[in-house]
Symmetry: C2
Subunit: 418 residues, 2 copies
């Protein structure tokens, strides 16, 4: 039993979280104790959700986002995307809905999703401000904390809270300047609120209240990076690094309060800065699990950002990032379709698996060994069934039938393996 | 003027090769002199081909393969694939045809392709052996050299010659064993010939003859890695490394003979071994340009091997690989379609560009800066025109029209950039 401030993680949860990992529940328990592992499971969803552990020594995890926007996406469409993400093997999902009936959508997700669910609670607030034309000044700090509490109470397993977007961090942003400015919706909303009111970030000033409600429901805090770079030219700059320092402080305070915390990271980062970014987080945040978005290693490939982020994600994972948020081919262009979601999850799982092999995670390379042994034997049934996306691999092979079924149409009887 | 044994590289060629590079023709000339740069241009194609320089300090280059197999692909289909590769921005192509009328196909490619063209001359020999049921023993060393000479004379700009598959290297292969054995068609053919005849690799024993004909037409030798790993479990093993040592020797001999040479590399390599593989080549082969196939960082993703290889290729390029051979989504499943070719070239160009940014290649990140500046301004026309695959980016955006054209359907009016 791991004691957090308001909650004990039961043995059953730890055992379930150890399934498919190269470690047992006692190792997960000790990781939770020292803060290098988080186990995603809201107490309200105990028994309904498959707890997922994220952190040092574990499989690199994958998250898939979906959710309505004002323009497109219905509850039914987003449910299909959730299903696509789960079928493609995502470890967690985040419902980032900003369209109508956000609560109805979230309730559906929490009821139907067997994997941990995350949200960004203040999106709802931002939507109301826009929809109702509310002046930002009329929002008080309490509204932010209420939004956070509401999601914890609904059963969300992990929440992104951009507590590190402090006045000091945005001072660096304003003074330094940037090519792409702020690209986080939460970060941008907080920035505008702070500039409108002159006040400090309420998620920072009222952090103790957030800790209290998170502890009550064992909600894992995902300390958001509202000032993450959205252009490789902005990577590892003063605002980003200043925010990271604040997140390091907040990790300490979460641990002291018995609240599980992980840290979110960039974003757009050139390949030569990816490892450094992971190592910085691991040092400054004392080994807290690192949850990265990409990183995308170039800005010039809209339509292919599942690839630009798979490159960055694989390198990040190999360097110690624990959790990869997927990016789909739709990134920078539109709300993803179910097909985009599928492609995004598979590309990110490839990156995570490549990272696990590189890190020498026990057992990770065994899948590859079995695939390659099947290739050597030209055992097509086995190759196709072992493929990460078996239906797609079958479809591609079937589309181009070799004369001799032993081979494929690339080399036919010149096959080097025969 | 750079003097090679039988040929002088004219100033005009060097100037053309410097186009689009961050260096001038004199730097390319000195790179050719010290063997760290090759300029691909057969004397027979002078004026017809756009010379491409590959090597240290230059843009990371991309090659696209196509060509018929016995089972599928007609001259017309392969011409369309060549066109697709060129339109997607490949720097070079290789015609790897193994179907009928290989010479007719190659003549068409050499006539119509404005970029350098490579081949694997001994494929023709392998095809004849299979088609005519010839016993391998009946092939003498001369047949191998004739095949090589014929392609040099036809005008091919660079040829893969698997000279390093020596008896010593294959002894290591047999004694060590492997998960996937030999996966290079050329390597496998030579292995079988050597095992059938008991003789040393004719491309090794008759290397001086190859050097002579290569010098005559300024054909660049691409010293093939017939024993490259085809499974991550086989990466950086004794046979692969033994072959690399031989290639190092052959680079020296090529330089002494005034012949341009680059070295081919793997293959399937786990992410944590990619940089080491590049550094090994650069040391053992004294800075010769390194031309890698992928590397694929996992074996389990047929249908997505343009992604597994973009991950490896980006890391390889950042570590110093100079030339990336593309891999398409069809790899391990079928002969690629024109659409596969397009996707493969774009994915590989993304990897090459990410590498160039990481290496700090002068000017490389400027493209990204302009894209991100356009994003910041929500200048959609500019974003779409700067995209590496502009038609695809336009298509994705058009498929999901935002209510307010200023935004996209992902965040609509919650856009962080507004």
């Amino acid at each position: 039993m791991i004691k957090t401030a308001g909650y004990r993680i039961p043995k059953k949860t730890l055992v379930a979280a150890a399934r498919g990992e190269p470690v047992d529940d006692s190792r997960i328990a000790s990781g939770v104790e020292d803060g290098t592992i988080v186990v995603l499971e809201n107490t309200r969803r105990r028994g309904l959700v498959r707890p997922v552990a994220v952190g040092t020594g574990l499989r690199t995890k994958v998250n898939a986002n979906f959710g309505t926007s004002r323009d497109v996406g219905s509850l039914e469409e987003e449910r299909r995307k959730m299903q696509a993400a789960l079928e493609a093997g995502t470890d967690t999902v985040m419902d980032l809905s900003t369209g109508e009936d956000r609560e109805g959508m979230l309730r559906m997700v929490l009821e139907q999703c067997p994997q941990p669910v995350g949200t960004v609670p203040i999106y709802g607030l931002a939507c109301r401000v826009v929809a109702e034309g509310m002046p930002l000044k009329s929002l008080d700090a309490g509204a932010f904390i209420e939004a956070v509490s509401a999601h914890c109470e609904l059963g969300v397993d992990f929440i992104t809270v951009h507590c590190g977007v402090t006045l000091e961090a945005v001072r660096h942003l304003d003074e330094q300047g940037r090519v792409a400015g702020i690209v986080s919706r939460g970060g941008s909303f907080l920035y505008r609120w702070m500039r409108a009111t002159g006040c400090e970030n309420p998620l920072y000033t009222h952090y103790d209240e957030i800790l209290k409600v998170a502890a009550r429901y064992n909600v894992t805090l995902s300390l958001g990076d509202g000032l993450r770079p959205g252009a490789i030219a902005d990577a590892t700059d003063r605002p980003q690094t200043c925010e990271l320092i604040v997140l390091g402080e907040l990790v300490d305070r979460a641990r002291a309060a018995g609240v599980q915390a992980m840290v979110e990271g960039p974003g757009h980062v050139p390949l030569n800065q990816v490892e450094m970014n992971i190592r910085m987080e691991k040092e400054i945040c004392k080994g807290a699990p690192f949850y990265v978005l990409g990183p995308l290693v170039t800005d010039i490939a809209p339509g292919y950002d599942h690839i630009t982020s798979a490159i960055g994600g694989a390198v990040a994972g190999a360097a110690g990032a624990d959790f990869l948020c997927y990016v789909t081919p739709a990134e920078h262009l539109r709300l993803p379709t179910a097909q985009d979601v599928h492609t995004g999850v598979i590309a990110t799982r490839i990156a995570a698996h490549a990272a696990d092999i590189a890190k020498g995670l026990p057992g990770a390379a065994e899948w590859d060994r079995r695939m390659s042994a099947a290739r050597k034997k030209l055992d097509w049934d086995k190759m196709l069934s072992l493929a990460i996306d078996s239906p797609l691999a079958c479809k591609i092979r079937q589309s181009s039938q070799p004369l001799d079924k032993k081979y494929c149409t690339m080399c036919s009887e010149l096959c080097a393996l025969k």
